[in-house]
């Protein structure tokens, strides 16, 4: 039963974005009987639209509206996210490790680091643990809730064998939100190998086919695809009162609301808050701290590629069902703060051709590409530190097709990250070296940011953070942030499980406020 709400209905909670954060929050609220309108900029794809073709799916899924890069962000395409119902859970590879205890206490654990705006989280692992557990159950994360881990594919077996040789022990096929057996009405993974193109058989958790249909069944939920929110408006009391959006025909619509939750994925969330500036809030909504858009973090992500002595056929199977965690702790003796993960990751011939030696050509590169079936690859990524100057702003002149100022993504690497990255790449190379790889290549500083976090961080202090510990903005009591923007620090783990845990916790809090009539 799909419900329709009136634009003038001011009892609804509006959720902006239908990805990991928005999709889960919207469904969770609807399950509790709260009326929700979800506004999503992208189209709703049918299952038949999903095919095993990376180029085609990139075109169908990706957010391609202009974004300006500054500093060390990748020119022209600083950030890789999706614009479609399901958000970036369509592209994602479903790797779901939890943050570690010490990563919630970055400032106390790492101490003062020059240039870094480090803080501890206003909550700890113990507090988030029950929500992690709920999130894992909901998403069907392998290695939790008695869900078996996936079997390892060839690329994993190479990683595992190499990692053992160099002495690592914390190696497994990862915790992934991919069904290892049929669960929740969805099939088990067939090792199809196109995880980033949307999973044809829905073995991989994506909100498009989990949260959205479940929410629609409640009768408390309306999804409006092709609805690009252009501004959040407030009343005289400074409370959010309606959102303005452009529908698929480019008409401006105004939806009244009781509360609004923004889950546009850090860059778009920041842009929306900044673009919603008013006389009362000249610096943008919820920005009295001047922290909106700041402390923008990603993980450095580098590829290490080995030309192995035998064939690997890297393209076969689930992308990130393979992890080494031995380097994930905080060990200052390595010369930097924070930890590192190594994860399996396949690439297509085209991606190798573009990124093994950016701009490169000639016989050596061609011979590596011709050796495609012998390539093994991993991604190493590690903790990034918050810095005031790494930030999302909006362009003073350039506008997109909606007439909105485009976002500028400014990012420069902290020296800690530079050291960590060099270390991680060396350790990654050792893994393939130990198995007598004939050549080892790296892909460094070539990937747009897939993990985007920290631009509206949570904290107890309204002067140094944007939201309280539940993601309610300090400035506007019925405005919530519901995505990775909330992270005060990022640990080294892929962010989505933590996003989902945080919004499930937010749902409890929001429901309570609504019930008590506090918003």
């Amino acid at each position: 039963m799909t419900k329709k709400f009136n634009l003038s209905d001011d009892s609804v909670v509006v959720v902006i974005g239908s990805g990991a954060g928005g999709g889960v929050l919207a469904n969770e609220l609807a399950q509790r009987g709260i009326d929700v309108v979800c506004l999503e900029a992208g189209r709703r794809l049918a299952q038949a639209d999903i095919v095993n073709n990376d180029t085609e799916m990139f075109g169908k899924l990706t957010w391609l509206d202009p974004r300006v890069a500054s500093g060390q962000a990748i020119p022209g395409f600083p950030v890789w996210t999706c614009k479609t119902v399901g958000g970036t859970t369509m592209h994602w590879t479903a790797s779901c490790p939890r943050l570690q205890e010490h990563e919630f206490k970055a400032r106390s654990t790492y101490g003062e680091i020059a240039g870094a705006n480090l803080v501890d989280w206003p909550l700890d692992l113990q507090e988030l643990a029950p929500y992690y557990s709920l999130a894992e159950d909901r998403m069907g994360v392998t290695g939790t809730h008695d869900i078996p881990r996936l079997p390892g594919n060839n690329n994993y077996k190479v990683l595992e064998a190499g990692a053992r040789k160099v002495g690592y022990t914390e190696i497994n096929t990862n915790n992934v939100a991919i069904n290892s057996e049929a669960r929740d009405g969805r099939a088990a993974c067939l090792q199809i190998g196109f995880c980033t193109s949307g999973c044809v058989i829905q073995a991989k958790w994506s909100t498009l086919y989990t949260e959205m249909p479940a929410a629609e069944k409640t009768g408390h939920f309306e999804l409006r695809p092709e609805s690009m929110v252009v501004a959040i408006k407030h009343d005289k009391q400074g409370r959010a009162s309606e959102v303005h959006y452009l529908n698929g025909d480019g008409e401006l619509k105004k939806q009244k609301l009781r509360a609004v939750c923004v889950a546009g994925n850090a860059v778009e969330t920041s842009r929306l808050l900044l673009n919603s500036a008013s006389n009362r809030f000249p610096g943008g909504l919820a920005n009295s701290s001047d922290q909106v858009g700041r402390n923008y973090m990603r993980h450095f992500i580098a590829g290490v590629v080995g030309e192995m002595p035998g064939s690997v056929n890297i393209h076969r199977g689930a992308h990130q069902a393979g992890i080494v965690k031995d380097e994930s702790g905080h060990n200052p003796e390595r010369g930097f703060a924070g930890g590192i993960l190594m994860l399996t990751a396949p690439f297509t011939p085209e991606i190798f051709a573009k990124f093994l030696q950016p701009g490169g050509w000639g016989r050596d590169l061609a011979s590596t590409l011709e050796n495609y079936d012998h390539l093994a690859a991993m991604l190493v990524h590690g903790e990034d530190l918050p810095e005031m100057t790494n930030r999302i702003t909006v362009h003073s002149k350039q506008k997109d097709a909606y007439g909105l100022p485009v976002p500028i993504v400014h990012y420069k690497e902290h020296p800690n990250t530079t050291k960590m990255k060099a270390y991680a790449i060396e350790k990654g190379k050792n893994v393939y070296r130990s198995l007598n790889a004939s050549k080892i290549h790296t892909m460094v500083d070539v990937f747009p940011a897939t993990h985007n976090m920290g631009t509206a961080r949570i904290g107890h202090n309204a002067k140094t953070s944007v939201c309280n510990a539940w993601g309610q903005t300090h400035d506007i009591s019925n405005l919530f942030i519901s995505d990775g923007s909330l992270f005060p620090s990022v640990g080294c783990e892929n962010p989505t499980l933590t996003i989902v845990a945080l919004v499930l916790r937010q749902a409890d809090y929001l429901e309570d406020l609504l019930k008590r009539g506090n918003i």
Binding site: L190, G193, R316, P349, E350, R363, A366, L369, D373
Partner: protein
């Protein structure tokens, strides 16, 4: 407007036919040049191309450069001709590309004393290096990558198996069949 387009097309078809004739003559005459050229196309292959925006000489030059950029000895020339075909399609949609391609052709020929195709391989490679970073080079570089490595023919040759859902994925088709790792 439409009439003008039809006229333009007729003109372009004619010119490419004329160029093609000239080219086949040239190819017959200059077998020496042919052996130097990594692309050794036969005239019929050029004929099949039927390109709207590129004369055959330019097409041959572009195919030659794309092979120099990503040389795979096992690949037939037809695979590199697919790159040229894609350039031709790009020219249909990207208005400034005609200028860019004629610019590129001119630069390459000029640098090679008027005749790129007859230049020695080592000289060609040196000349290409001097072009790196230019808009013309970047276009051709990217185009070559996308045409070659998105081509299912190429995938077969290098062992990328592409779409797998129609075969039930790799669960029963070797996702974990690696056999050379020590036990």
């Amino acid at each position: 407007m439409l009439n003008k387009r039809i006229a333009d097309e007729a003109f372009e078809n004619n010119t490419s036919r004329r160029d093609f004739l000239a080219l086949s003559q040239r190819l017959l005459l200059s077998t020496a040049a042919l052996t130097m050229c990594p692309i050794s196309l036969c005239a019929s292959a050029m004929d099949d191309l039927n390109l709207k925006y590129l004369d055959s000489l330019t097409a041959l030059l572009l195919a030659d450069v794309s092979r120099l950029l990503f040389p795979h000895d096992r690949f037939e020339d037809t695979i590199y001709l697919d790159v040229v075909r894609d350039i031709n399609s790009d020219m249909h949609t990207q208005k400034n590309l005609k200028t860019l391609i004629s610019q590129l052709t001119k630069i390459l020929n000029d640098k090679a004393d008027g005749d790129w195709l007859s230049a020695a391989m080592s000289k060609k490679l040196d000349l290409l290096k001097t072009l790196q970073g230019s808009e013309e080079f970047s276009y051709l570089h990217n185009r070559t990558i996308e045409s070659l490595y998105r081509n299912p023919e190429v995938w077969k040759l290098i062992g990328y198996q592409g779409s797998s859902i129609e075969h039930g994925g790799y669960l029963h088709r070797g996702f974990d069949d690696i056999d050379w790792l020590e036990k």
